[in-house]
């Protein structure tokens, strides 16, 4: 027991001794051998799955795009002191010196943490940094990993200042939070494994098993077009792709740009037809904070006029979707915004 309380040189060592208290019958050497065997067998499983593993990060030159993004932040506008009203949310953020954004760390192209640099990259992430630069003068952002079940609460209790997280504007949500924007319009599309027949349009999914990302707008959208489809959900995009490859479902419904990105790394994947929904993404703000909403809308307009919005699109979604950046949706054009 005395040994267990002694601070060990490392966590692993400490943990081992704690476990030993539970099983005093095992000698230290036998336990070490057991751990080695366990680790080896796990490594074996990992090695087996290595060949089929899918890359979570879409192709592209991350270093390059990172540099371009830096340039964009250098040019990005900063709000005049007169626009930061005394006592407003903007002033609070400026005093704090960082913008707290509710977002994702695992959404490719939109908001994904680069495991090498630790930086969060993507369209949503860049817009967050641009907004931070506009308020504070520096692109200083802290991303709080949020989920669809926590976003409304995080905004209303003030844990986060804004939400940039493929947050589709809906009238139900607009009762809980305020939406600036819409800042982007996207659509859901259907992907299948190459060689699948009988699925040409979303209605063909009726009665079939369909894969979707947990907590994505795909779930209600599938229910609408194909009420008898069985929906299986997985937490992240790479998991959904893996599930499709393993025939856990006949199709995968996801944001079209994400599917295009997946198609680049997974030649087995095929996108069928055009997007079948129109999802206007809004910037989530605290309900009733009209000052902040107007401020954010003004910023969005400026960022679009200065070409920064288009630049952010080019650096992220534009790396997989061909052509120029689309025209941004009109601010306030959607019910709820």
């Amino acid at each position: 027991m005395v040994e267990a309380r002694r601070p060990g040189p490392s966590n692993a060592h400490q943990r081992m001794e704690l476990v030993m208290v539970h099983a005093p019958a095992l000698s230290r050497r036998r336990r070490a051998a057991l751990t080695v065997v366990t680790v080896l067998s796990l490594a074996g499983v990992a090695a087996c799955s290595g060949s089929g593993g899918s890359a979570a990060v879409p192709p592209g030159a991350p270093g390059d795009s990172g540099k371009k993004a830096d340039d964009a932040f250098a040019k990005a506008p900063v709000a005049a002191a007169s626009e930061i009203l005394p006592g407003s949310t903007m002033e609070k953020i400026k005093k704090r010196g960082e913008l707290i954004v509710g977002g994702s760390l695992d959404a490719p192209l939109l908001s994904q943490q680069n495991p090498v640099t630790g930086q969060v990259e993507g369209f949503d992430a860049d817009l967050g940094k641009l907004l931070a630069k506009y308020i504070i003068g520096e692109p200083k952002v802290r991303i709080v990993n949020s989920a669809s079940e926590t976003r409304e609460a995080l905004l209303s209790n003030g844990t986060v200042d804004v939400v940039f997280q493929t947050y589709t504007i809906t009238p139900e949500r607009a009762k809980q939070v305020a939406f600036a924007g819409p800042y982007y319009t996207s659509g859901l599309a259907v992907a299948v494994k190459k060689g699948t027949t009988g699925i040409a349009k979303p209605e063909d999914l009726d009665g079939k098993t369909v894969i979707a990302g947990a907590n994505t707008p795909a779930i209600p959208a599938i229910k609408k077009v194909a009420p008898n489809a069985k929906i299986v959900t997985f937490g992240s995009d790479p998991e959904c792709v893996q599930a499709l490859k393993q025939d856990r479902g006949v199709a995968y419904v996801q944001d079209q740009s994400l599917l295009v990105a997946d198609g680049k790394t997974e030649p087995e994947l095929q996108v069928v037809g055009e997007p079948f929904t129109t999802d206007p993404y809004g910037i989530g703000l605290k309900h009733g904070d009209d000052q902040m909403k107007k401020f954010v809308n003004d910023w969005l307009k400026k960022a679009q006029d200065a070409g920064l919005w288009q630049q952010a699109w080019k650096n992220s979604i534009g790396t997989v979707v061909q052509g120029d950046a689309p025209a941004p949706p009109a601010i306030g054009s959607v019910p709820g915004s």
């Binding site: 476990v19 409304e152 139900e172």
Partner: protein, 214 residues
């Protein structure tokens, strides 16, 4: 509140899946747990080592990791079952390690004289375990087993991460449309609480019935 009441059918479906998952997994965990506990107290060194290996491996890997390995890893080597079946089996095997440890503590609590007396009467290892030691051991571990059952009920929510639409996943889906997380998840929480209080009540009754007079 409407968000909760208007979606009761969807939530009820999730609750049924949670119940099925809980009962199947506990039945599996109980059977495997007895086998593993027997191995751990057996006089055969190889069996003892295998039992220890099983318990240490399963207890020292988080359930979520096991679930993801089984759902996405096993198909890579040609083993693939339905998501529900996979989840039920993984949860059963994981909880079996805990059941085995609870049973072993119960077996150790039976005085050595009981086992010796059984041997003296001519019962073998299996016989003395089955007729003398295990019945007494079970009596003392009703409460810990009840705790494991409750833990297992809560752990079934991890199956939501691998595509099984049980109560937590159902609540998540309802919330996606309604955007009312507090009433919806409080509702789901109350359902889990009711489930575990039923388990608590049943273990209380069982404990009084199976109490070993010493």
């Amino acid at each position: 509140m409407d968000a909760l009441l208007g979606n009761l059918p969807a939530l009820r479906e999730g609750l049924v899946v949670t119940l099925q998952l809980t009962l199947l997994a506990f039945a599996g965990a109980f059977v495997v747990g007895i086998l593993v506990a027997t191995a751990r107290v057996s006089p055969v060194p190889v069996l003892r080592a295998a039992g220890t290996f099983y318990v240490e491996t399963l207890q020292n890997i988080p359930l979520l990791v096991l679930l993801i390995l089984a759902v996405f890893g096993l198909p890579e080597i040609g083993v693939q079952a339905e998501l529900f079946t996979t989840a039920a089996m993984v949860i059963a095997l994981y909880q079996a390690a805990y059941v085995a440890e609870a049973l072993r503590s119960g077996i150790n609590s039976v005085p050595a004289g009981q086992g010796e007396a059984a041997r003296a009467m001519g019962l073998g290892f299996t016989g003395s375990l089955r007729h003398v030691v295990l019945p007494q051991a079970l009596g003392t571990v009703v409460q810990p087993l009840g705790n494991i059952f409750i833990m297992l009920t809560m752990n079934t929510s991890l199956a939501a991460a691998v595509g099984v639409v049980e109560l937590t996943a159902a609540a998540n889906r309802v919330n996606l449309i309604e955007a009312q997380p507090i009433p919806i998840f409080v509702g789901a929480g109350v359902a889990y609480m009711l489930l575990s209080s039923v388990v608590g009540f049943v273990t209380g009754v069982l404990e009084r019935k199976l109490a070993v007079a010493r």
